[in-house]
Structures are given as C-alpha cells and as structure tokens.
C-alpha cells in the first residue's frame, strides 16, 4: 500500500530573530519550533495541544506552506513542498486549507460574506456561473449553520462566532483534503461548537478529510482527534492515541495539562515559577524548571525528541474518534522524557 501519510513534517525547525534595544537590533534567535516530526494520515485527525506560545500556530503555518521552515522538510502526498515549482505549489494549495486562530484577521473587512466565500472559488477557478456560485455559497453557509441572509453582511456586522463560521465555510469551498484548524471553535458557544465539531467529523466520514486540529480545549480535542501530539516550548514531547493519552498521560507536562483542565480551580496548586520562555531554553530537558520529577540527568541531558518516521502507523479505523478505535489498536506512544521513556 502507498504511504498513508498525507502530511509529513520531518525535523522541522523554525527560528525567528529576537530584537532588543532601542533600535531593535537582532539580539538572538527564538526557536519557535524545534526539530518536530509529525504526520497526518489520510482520513485521520491529529490533535495538537500545548502551552500558549509553544509554537502551534507557527507549525500550522509551516504545514500550510505559508511559512518556510528554517530547516527540515514538509511533504504532502509524497511530494516535498520545497521541491515544488511555483505553479505546482499553487495547484496544490487548494488541497489544504488553514482556519486561522483569529477570525477577525482572517476576513477582509471590505468583503461581504458572499465575496469572502467566493474568493477562493474564483482563485482556484471553481466558480462556474453566477447562479452556481450563489448556490454554492448558500450551501456552504447552510453547512455551517448560517442563513443565506448573512451573505450580504460585512464582517463588522457579525458576532465573533458568526465570523468564525464564515471562515470555516470559506475553507470548505475548495474541497480540501486537509484542514488545518487553529482554535476553530474557541469563539463559539458550546452548543454551536459541538455542532461544528459534529460537522467536521461528518465531513471526515463522508469525504475522508484529514485534520490537524489545534486547540486549548482538551474536551474538543478528545472528541475530534485519533491521535494527539503535545508540544512544549517548540518541541513535541508526547504523541499517543487519544485514549491512551487521556487515560494515562506519560509526559509530566501532559499530566499537568490534564490536571489543569479537569480539576476545579480550588484543587490546583498555586501556579508558581517563571513563565516558560523559548528565548532562554535551559540546558537539558525544556520542562525541567516546572517538572516535579526532575533529577540530575534532566539537567545534564536533553531527552531524545520524537524521532523521524516513527515506527508506528496511525491507529486509524475511521470510526468516530471518541467511540471505536480505542480497544487494542492503540499505537505505541512516544515520549520525550528521561523518566517515562
């Protein structure tokens, strides 16, 4: 069988210059993404969670070919993006779509909802007649639960959640294979959020769509993802099937994440310590300043990061993620920690 991987990131690193001083001279580099290896199979949802500022959006932009990695490679359907010619890349671009974290910035304030949704159709020459376009727009709005009367509104006339639904409708317009969703439902109420997740799962079942699903909301990740990758300060520190990860988190950061999400505020310890920073990575393990298990070896040595071409295939049977899948098929997990290898 051909390589089931739709998207593959190999040793991807992204650095940004850090500017300091009154003239904003380049004073160093921040590694927003640090040697990341990940893949998304056809029909699979990969969840991506992690600390704010740990590099999720940067990684999403690399996966969507909006940002060139400083080093490493991105492969899509067995082709290396950096080896593609400009016209090939343009052709390929409709095969993935990125839903941005911030719906306000994703929409042109001067475009009506209709124009926003029609734009990608026109760019990718999928437009057809005026009547076709009208129908397509109406059908897409309907898919995301908006009445057709919204089509002639401007973004400033929509609530935060309505705007995000327009963004999703526009991404679906070109019938992509992979949707990279950066916090797709953070601005929606739980009821409409649940409907959107159901819509995304439904599209996955019917059209074999894949997702890279970034969210701070572990509940929606649990209900969407077949596998979950956990990032901390630029690196992936754990990858596991969703059930395995939620049942027994292995990496101490994953453990902290789950505890923060599911225990009442009163039961949380006082969060202390320095806010973690990708600007000043300490030696050894990047989590050690906050890790309750840290020992000398964690200071001396960086634990091995998640390797390239990991020796597992996604446990993927296309049942709805939160049901089937789980029993028996759990793929071996990978953890970047000295004490939980």
């Amino acid at each position: 069988m051909a390589d089931p991987r739709l998207l593959e990131l190999r040793d991807v690193t992204v650095t940004f210059p850090v500017r300091a001083g009154p003239w904003r001279r380049v004073a160093g580099q921040v590694r927003a993404v640090d040697r990341v290896n990940l893949s998304v199979a056809s029909g699979e949802s990969l969840g991506l969670v992690g600390e704010s500022g740990c590099g999720k959006t940067t990684l999403a932009k690399v996966a969507a070919a909006l940002l060139k990695p400083s080093s490493g490679e991105v492969w899509f359907e067995g082709e290396r993006l950096s080896a593609m010619t400009g016209s090939r890349l343009r052709q390929m671009r409709r095969r993935w779509q990125l839903i941005f974290q911030d719906p306000a910035n994703a929409l042109n304030p001067r475009f009506t909802v209709r124009q926003a949704i029609e734009e990608p159709l026109i760019i990718h020459r999928l437009d057809g007649t005026v009547a076709d376009r009208r129908n397509t727009v109406a059908a897409l709005l309907d898919k995301v639960g908006l009445a057709e009367t919204f089509a002639d509104r401007l973004p400033s006339e929509l609530s935060g959640g309505e705007r995000q639904r327009v963004v999703i409708a526009r991404a679906l317009a070109v019938q992509p294979r992979l949707l990279i969703c950066d916090e797709p439902i953070a601005s929606l109420d739980v009821s409409i959020g649940a409907q959107m997740l159901e819509l995304l799962r439904d599209l996955q079942r019917r059209e074999h769509l894949s997702y890279l699903f970034i969210s701070h909301d572990l509940r929606s990740v649990a209900s969407m993802a077949h596998r979950v990758a956990v990032m901390y300060l630029g690196a992936v520190v754990e990858v596991a099937s969703t059930e395995a990860l939620f049942r027994v988190p292995w990496h101490p950061y994953t453990e902290l994440l789950l505890r923060s999400a599911f225990q009442p505020l009163s039961a949380q310890g006082v969060a202390g310590g320095e806010a973690p920073s990708a600007l000043h990575l300490s030696s050894g393990c990047r989590f050690r300043a906050r890790c309750p298990l840290a020992e000398q070896i964690c200071v001396d040595q960086e634990p091995a990061l998640i390797p390239k071409n990991p020796p597992y295939e996604p446990a993927l049977r296309l049942a709805p993620p939160s049901v089937g899948l789980a029993q028996g098929s759990a793929s071996p997990r990978l953890v970047a920690c000295h004490k939980r290898p």
Binding site: D102, S159, S187, S191, G193
Partner: protein, 268 residues
C-alpha cells in the same frame, strides 16, 4: 451588598439594511461590588454588544440605544458626558476585548501601547512607568516581560496578545473589569494562572468582574452568579450553583448538555 454596576431593562439595536436588529432585548442584571458575574450564551446573542455598551463603546450608527439604564456606582452612564466616559474607560472600568489581535495596534510595540495606558490612567512616569509595565506583564504570566515590551503584536502568539490586553486592562486598577472571553486563546495551565491572578486582584482591590465565556468549567470556577443569554434576552440569571445544578430555562440545560464528554476521564 451594594451594586457596582446595575443594568436596567437595557435594549440595544443595530440598524441594518434589513431593518432594526434587536441585539440586546430588555436585559437587567447586577454586578455587586467585589463579585464576579459570568455571562454565557449563544454565539450572536448580544453578549459583546452588552459589554461594549456599558461605557458606550458601540459606534452609533449602526448601534442604537433603545432604552433602559446603565448605573455605575449609581450614576447613569447613558447620560454621562464624553469626558466622564473617557475617564471611566480604562480607568474605573477596564476591558479585555474578545479579539486581542484587533484591539492591539499593529504598528506600535507592546511597550508603547501599555505605557500609553499607564500614562493615561496612573501617576507612574518615566522609569517608574516602565517598571510598572514590566511588573504588569509579569503578573499576567508573560515570559521575558522586559524583552516583550519591544515586540510588535505580530511577533507574539495569540495567548501572549491576550495577556498584553489583560495587563492593559488592569493597569489602572479598575473597580470593574469587563472581560470578553479573556482566556479562550490561552492554554489551560496559563488559564489557571490568570484565574488565580484575577482572584487575587479581586481580594486585593475588591475588583468586580463581568466576564463572558463559553467555558462552563471557567464559569464554575470563577463566577458568583451566572447569566445566560439567547437571541438578545437574558433567559436565566441567578447564583452559580442554582444555574449550574438546577437550571430552569431549557436553553441553559441544552448548553450544559452540549459540553463534549471525555469518556475516559470524568472525575479526576
């Protein structure tokens, strides 16, 4: 227990091509001094409109005040002068807006914008102002706070922008903080820190909080009372435990049931 903010029978409309849209419809609610009111509800139900209306931040047109009163410490803000409102905004009433990216100016550094808020609403000047800015960023959990003063908004992650907004909102030590989804872009461990910060501020400054959220877990952790909105109306308002455990309105029940369950993990 005196009311810091009292909204009485407030109605707000938007003029659109299709006529008048009643975004807020006869809403009454109270934020007692030192307490937290959580506002949840349908997307598009008028929560942000209500929040912005408190200090008259809605541009008119298209927004129109259709009636009601907004009493802040007993004074009706609907009759306040522009100067009075300017002093109150960012002074006694701080805001964290729903979309941090649009409320930060992309052409100025974080430091410039934070210092502007500090100059407008506090006595700190010069080096003391910068020190206070760093202190504020530290309090909201910003990594490398001094360094970040020189960053432009596009150089920050979504959650970092939200923390800058929060720092600006508490700069003047307001009496009331109106926070529209203040932590949606933040990961849960940082959320916990911000919530603990808000609780601390609440104790130290007897800050009152009107916060809008889609996250029941947050509402449960933070709110003393909870309001639920649907299509412009406040369909339920009461003490947290009553609204969460014995909701009377079907829409509240529906919302509570919509929270995705994590089958492997209910309980600790």
């Amino acid at each position: 227990m005196s009311a810091l903010l009292e909204i009485r029978h407030l109605s707000i409309g938007y003029r659109t091509d299709g006529g008048l849209l009643r975004a807020v419809d006869d809403v009454s609610l109270t934020v007692p001094a030192g307490q937290t009111v959580g506002l949840v509800g349908e997307s598009g139900s008028g929560k942000s409109t209500l929040a912005l209306a408190v200090t008259r931040l809605l541009p008119s047109p298209p927004a129109e005040m259709l009636g009601g009163a907004i009493l802040f410490e007993g004074r009706d803000l609907l009759n306040a002068t522009t100067q009075e409102l300017q002093a109150i905004r960012g002074g006694q009433i701080g805001y964290v807006f729903q979309e941090p990216a649009t409320s930060l100016n992309p052409v100025y550094t974080v430091g410039t914008q934070l210092l502007e808020a500090i100059h407008l609403h506090t006595p700190h000047r010069g080096a003391a102002a910068t020190e206070y800015a760093v202190d504020l960023l530290t309090r909201v959990g910003m990594p490398d706070p001094a360094q970040r003063l020189r960053a432009y908004p596009h150089e920050l992650s979504g959650g970092m922008k939200q923390r800058v907004m929060l720092a600006m909102a508490i700069a003047a030590q307001p009496k009331l903080l109106i926070a529209d989804e203040p932590t949606t872009a933040l990961d849960v461990t940082i959320q916990v820190q911000i919530l603990q910060l808000l609780q601390r501020l609440q104790d130290e400054l007897s800050l009152s909080l009107l916060f809008i959220s889609h996250d029941w877990h947050l509402v449960e952790s933070l709110a003393d009372s909870v309001g639920v909105m649907q299509t412009g109306r406040l369909v339920e308002f009461g003490p947290r435990d009553v609204v969460l455990r014995q909701p009377t309105h079907p829409y509240t029940r529906h919302l509570l049931q919509s929270v995705p369950a994590v089958p492997w993990l209910e309980g600790p």
